[in-house]
Each structure stands twice: as structure tokens, then as C-alpha cells.
Symmetry: C2
Subunit: 224 residues, 2 copies
Amino acid sequence: MREIFSEELADLHVRFSEMGMLVNEAVYNSVKAFVNHDRELALEVIQNDEAINGREVDIEKRSFEMIALQQPVTSDLRMIVTIMKASSDLERMGDHAVSIAKSTIRVKGNTRVPEIEEDIAAMADVVKQMVEDVLDAYVKKDAQRARDIAQQDQQVNAAFKTIYDKCINEMQRDPETVVGSTDYMLVGTYLERVGDYVTNICEWIVYLKTNKLTELNVNNQETM
Amino acid sequence: MREIFSEELADLHVRFSEMGMLVNEAVYNSVKAFVNHDRELALEVIQNDEAINGREVDIEKRSFEMIALQQPVTSDLRMIVTIMKASSDLERMGDHAVSIAKSTIRVKGNTRVPEIEEDIAAMADVVKQMVEDVLDAYVKKDAQRARDIAQQDQQVNAAFKTIYDKCINEMQRDPETVVGSTDYMLVGTYLERVGDYVTNICEWIVYLKTNKLTELNVNNQETM
């Protein structure tokens, strides 16, 4: 029984990591599509979201069955609960990638502002690194690393603030850029939310180690 | 044992409903503060968020202990897992109320557009009703009602689209309104997200009844 449980738990970890990699790819590609005005890639991101949602349902189902059939306690149970919670966070990160992809399809043809697009690409790079790091920290159950990753979210929030300010300036300067700049701003908010979800997952990793639910970056989600 | 479990489960339901009412109040007050330019009320919403977060941690802890100590199966377990998941959704709805409250504090002094503020208030009324209804449907485990509530989210999305269009027009017409209209748009996105979270909770209610994770309003979260 115990051995079966360990195997199933290891399998659940693999599935969670795989889902994480799919989400990371979706976020990365959605921004890549956005700054390169690549509608094909944007459509691909939208189509792939179904697979991500399917992964969540699968993880959910397996977690539930493991709890029901094997009745794990303490750290094993905590591990499974964490995966259930964190997979919801991943799924929502995927939804934000879809939102960014939809912006790409919508934005085509508007006046563009290369400088802001570069800022968005740079912001996306930080977010991508955070997503990769959090998956790694999760696999290694590294609570200290999780705390460090959560700190990086301040960088993401600062990047959003910069993009916000530039968009405001741009829109005030030239009404032609209003539609495009609004899209930049919305894409910025989506990326910022992805950073918040990474912070949530960091909190789950800390929870695994400490058995305490801690809010990392308390002022984080409320920055804008 | 069984009796203790029933009592604890009933207690968990009460706590979940109470948390839901706090969140509903936060969302409602944040919009009220926003349209009435009421900084005091906005600050209150921000301060009260800590209590909402505390509720989530408390529900989390109790759920976990119930699973670990009483090892429930099938429908009992499903109920507890649902509460754990849905309380995360509630907590994030609270975070959005805080974001709206922060917009109120930020927006003071900008040129305002009464027509758009009325639209936001009307959108908030729909969202408020949805939150109330979903808590009620949850208590009654009414899956059909949950499906109906999820449908209303289309109305919320349509309301956001209207606000979006008006903000764009306004910003193009008068650069003075750029900062204010951007805030209207962001508040609109927060309310739209709250609607998405209500839809999530609807999905959990359907799950309780059917044992199936179904995506209600598949195109919902990706509308903008």
C-alpha cells in the first residue's frame, strides 16, 4: 500500500511539473506572439489551453482518489492538497496567457509603440524565469528559494508601474495610440497576475515545509 | 465519530458562508467607495481584507485537519475539497475588492465621467447579485442554479465590453480623461474577474452534485 502510494505521489509530481511546463510555454509564447505580432502563435496558445485545463482536471481527479483510497496523513496529505491548490494557480496562469494571446489578435493594425513592447518583453522574461524557478523550487521543496522567488514579484510590479506610466503618457500625447496602449496596459496586468500566481505557489511550497500558510509579499496583489 | 464529523462539516459550511458574506461586502463597498469618491470607505475595505485572508487560513486549517483525522471518503471528502478550493476563490475576490479600493484612493482629483461610473455601478450590482446567489446555491447544493448563475457572467462580460468601448472613446476625445478612464477600465477588469471567480465556485457546486469537473462558460475567462 505504502509503496503504491509513493509511486502515485511521484507520478503526481511529474504530472504537476509537466503541467507547469505547458503553462510556462503558454505564457512565454503568448508574449512572444504579442511583441512579434504573430497571430499564428497566438492562436496556438489559445488552442493549447484546452490541454492545460485537461491536465488540471486529471491532477484533481488523481489527487482526490489518492486521498479517498489511501487516506494519507500529515506530510503526504499536505503534499497532495498543495498540488490540488497549486494546479488551480497554474490553470489560471494559462488563462492569462490566453488573454494575452487574444490581445495579440485584437491589436493587429493599431499604432504600436516599440519602446513599450520592449518593456513588456523584458517583464515577460522576468515572469518566465519566476515560473521556471518556482517549478524547480517545488520539485526540490526548497522553501528558502520559494521566498526568494516571491521577492522577485516586486520587480514585476515595478515593471508594470513603468509600463502603466508610459502608456498614460503615450495616450495623452497621441489619441491614435489609445487602443494600442490600452492593450499594452491590459497585457501588463495579465503578466502581473501571473507573477501573483507564482507567489501563491511559493506560499504553498513554504507551507509544505513549515506547515504554516504564510502570505509572502503581503502588499503584492494589491499593488495596482 | 460520525456525529462529530457532521458537526464539524456543518461548522465549516457556516464559516465558508460567513467568509463569502465578508467578501461580498468588500466587493460591494469597494465599488460604492469608487463611484462615491469615498476614500474612508475604500480604506476600510483595504483594512478588512486581512480578516478575509485570516478566514481562508482558518478554513484551510480546519479542512486539512478534518481530512487527516477523520479520513472522510466520497461525498464528504468532496465537500471538504470543494470548500478548500472555493475559499481560495473567495479570497481572491477579496483581493480584487482591494484593488478597486486602491483605485479609489488613486483616482481622486482626476477628471471623471459620470456615465461610465454609472455603468460600473450597474456592473457591480450584477456581480453582487451573482456573489449572493452563488453562496445561496452553495448552501443549498443547487447545481442547476449554479449553472444559471454562471450564465449571468456573460452579462458581466458584456458590461465590461461596454465600459471598455466608452473608455476608449473618452480617452481619444479628451486626453484629460486618460488617467481616470484607465482606472475605470482597470476597475472593470477587476469586476470581470470577480465574475470569473463566481463561475469557478459554480463549477465546484456542479462538481459536488455530479462528481464531474465541468467548465461552465468555456469562453468566459478569455473574453477580453
